[in-house]
């Protein structure tokens, strides 16, 4: 008995570290951490990839864009995903990272059904989110106070929204929510609310999608930048990726993922874009 217990204990002591070491030695293991917006896409792509490459081992985690960027910069993971440019993040040395934009996602302003507004100009939207306009009457709606629901400070969607709409002005101090789902739920049930969510979450009859300067929020309007509210979904590697990682990124950028998976989730294929945007928000035509 005594010996038996000892053997068991020894076995545990020896086997557990071996197992851990075994995992970390696995050449094919790719850990992908960061943007929760990109998580479902990469997870599905990883599963599909695994079916074709049984030796691959792709682990996908959320955690947020900031986590993704700092983890990849620290070399703790192979790929960090982000919906903001690394160059715009303090504490991140973008020169160290290699950027692979893999998809484009649109952002749409949404309002409660009862506000009586379906279209806003960029100026009106900015005025609402900076707190200058406080009643829907002022933008052609009902006599109803405006309740701004912002996204969490530093979230990718908020950063994109503020860069493109507020152009440097400070947003009004308001309620903040960190998930698309919660925002949608709150806007659909609270009179007078306005917020913004990414396209994949906007397929809901209980909220009023707002068009911007007369342009409908539609994936067709993004490639030529007619709908200006969109952001890249980036995959970042630290320097040149290793072989396995490079192969997987190539797979994500390949036909199968870009034509099937990306539209299925509600994103736009990176290859459809007719314009490119840099971290300073300068727009250039592709191929000109």
């Amino acid at each position: 008995m005594r010996k038996n217990n000892l053997v068991k204990l020894l076995a545990v002591i020896v086997v557990v570290p071996l197992f851990l070491v075994g995992c970390s030695k696995n050449q094919e293991k790719i850990t992908i951490v960061g943007s929760s917006a990109l998580q479902p896409l990469i997870e599905q792509a990883g599963n599909d990839y695994h079916l074709a490459h049984m030796s691959s081992n792709i682990v996908v985690q959320g955690g947020g864009s900031g986590t993704g960027l700092s983890q990849v910069q620290a070399g703790a993971v192979e790929v960090g995903t982000s919906d903001v440019f690394a160059a715009t993040q303090k504490g991140i040395d973008a020169a160290e990272l290699k950027d692979y934009p893999v998809a484009v996602v649109g952002i749409v302003p949404i309002a409660n059904k009862g506000v009586g507004v379906k279209d806003l100009s960029t100026q009106q939207l900015a005025a609402i989110f900076t707190g200058k306009v406080k009643n829907w009457r002022q933008v052609g709606g009902k006599n109803l106070p405006i309740i701004v629901i912002n996204r969490s400070r530093g979230s990718g969607t908020r950063t994109t929204f503020e860069d493109l709409i507020l152009s440097g002005k400070e947003a009004v101090n308001s309620q903040e929510q960190d998930s698309n789902g919660t925002v949608k739920k709150i806007v659909s049930t609270t009179p007078g609310t306005i917020s913004y969510i990414s396209f994949p979450y906007a397929n809901d009859q209980n909220i009023q999608k707002l068009s911007l300067n007369g342009v409908r929020p539609d994936n067709q309007n993004i490639p030529a930048n007619k709908w200006p509210l969109w952001s890249y979904e980036h995959m970042y590697t630290k320097g040149k990726p290793n072989k396995a990682t490079a192969a997987f990124i190539k797979y994500v950028l390949g036909k199968k993922v870009q034509q099937d998976l990306v539209p299925k989730i509600g994103y736009l294929s990176i290859h459809e874009m007719k314009v490119a945007r840099d971290s300073q928000n300068n727009i250039t035509q592709i191929g000109k």
Partner: protein, 330 residues
């Protein structure tokens, strides 16, 4: 055979010769056959003892290291705001401008601190009378099936995940508060109502223990003096259980103070000094959970969040300290 063993052999032989160990029968045993080596080795029981003790010490050591590591890490990160980023501690504690990504002049956590304390105190204030009532019912007035039923209801309430409470709050309590009290429905009041349900079982079950700990003799003496049951409860049981009830309330407050998700969904999460009970506000925990993923390690916004975490850690230590203090007094 070494000298020591030879000596031992002699001692054993002498003992057998003189029959100095009367309860052991040595008849028929040749002193030569006694295996001194085995006798001097630790027995199976001794070895078990050592193993057990060793394993326990190992576990305690690991947990000790873990605790020190957690406190050390949170402390190190949390204090970096003040030492590395040179934010003034008083500025952090007493100003309300919270926008750490804009620079060190914008790291004021007062609004969150006030809100955290407000929801905690209000939830405890609201839940305590109900908890005492339920506990009295369970210990003084009823016994048997009804008590067991209530007990399982309380256990059920504890088992519900906080995200469910948050979602219920968002769907049911937020619109109700908006209709009855005005505002957007998000705010301290809504968070308090949710926390009320969440801390109720904690406070109740500990209060039940408090009442059970009151000696039967006290109740009997009171009855013998001619007191009614209510008089006994009010003047004897409640008084005798006072310290333990306080402990129960503090445990409930600790739970309310640390709750993140349910509060985050219902309080609106706007870092503003609360103007009233129905204006959107943010607690320490709701800011932490909603922003941690969006900040980059080692930068001021990240460190500032760790400072909030440190504040939470310190507060939970204070709650623990209070519990011990009250326990000692009683």
């Amino acid at each position: 055979m070494g000298k020591k063993k030879q000596d031992l052999q002699k001692v054993v032989e002498k003992a057998i010769a003189q029959q100095k160990v009367p309860h052991v029968k040595f008849k028929g045993i040749d002193p030569q056959d006694i295996d001194i080596a085995r006798l001097t080795k630790p027995s199976k029981e001794t070895r078990q003892e050592r193993w057990g003790k060793g394993l326990t010490l190992l576990a305690i050591g690991l947990i000790g290291i873990l605790i020190v590591a957690i406190i050390g890490f949170v402390g190190l990160r949390g204090l970096a705001t003040f030492f590395a980023d040179r934010v003034n501690v008083f500025h952090f504690l007493f100003t309300t401008d919270w926008n750490p990504s804009a620079g060190k002049e914008h790291v004021g956590a007062a609004a969150m601190i006030v809100t955290s304390f407000a929801v905690t105190l209000l939830a405890a204030l609201l839940a305590t009378p109900f908890s005492i009532a339920v506990a009295l019912f369970m210990t003084e007035y009823e016994s048997g099936r009804k008590v067991r039923l209530l007990q399982s209801v309380m256990e059920l309430l504890v088992g519900i995940p906080s995200v469910v409470y948050g979602f219920l709050g968002l769907t049911v309590i937020v619109p109700a508060v908006r209709k009855i009290f005005g505002g957007t429905g998000f705010g301290i009041l809504t968070a308090t109502l949710i926390l009320f349900v969440m801390v109720l079982p904690t406070i109740t079950s500990l209060t039940v223990d408090a009442f059970k700990a009151v000696p039967k003799e006290l109740r009997k003496s009171s009855a013998a003096l001619g007191a009614t049951q209510w008089q006994t409860i009010f003047h004897v049981v409640l008084r005798a259980a006072r310290a333990r009830i306080m402990t129960a309330v503090i445990f409930g407050m600790a739970r309310a103070f640390g709750e993140a998700l349910a509060v985050q969904m219902a309080i609106g999460n706007a870092v503003l000094m609360p103007a009233n009970l129905v204006s959107p506000a943010a607690t320490l925990t709701s800011q932490l959970t909603s922003q941690m993923g969006n900040t980059v390690m080692g930068t001021l916004p990240n460190n500032a969040l760790w400072s909030l975490a440190l504040l939470l850690l310190v507060m939970s230590l204070v709650f623990n300290f209070l519990v011990h203090l009250i326990g000692k007094k009683s």
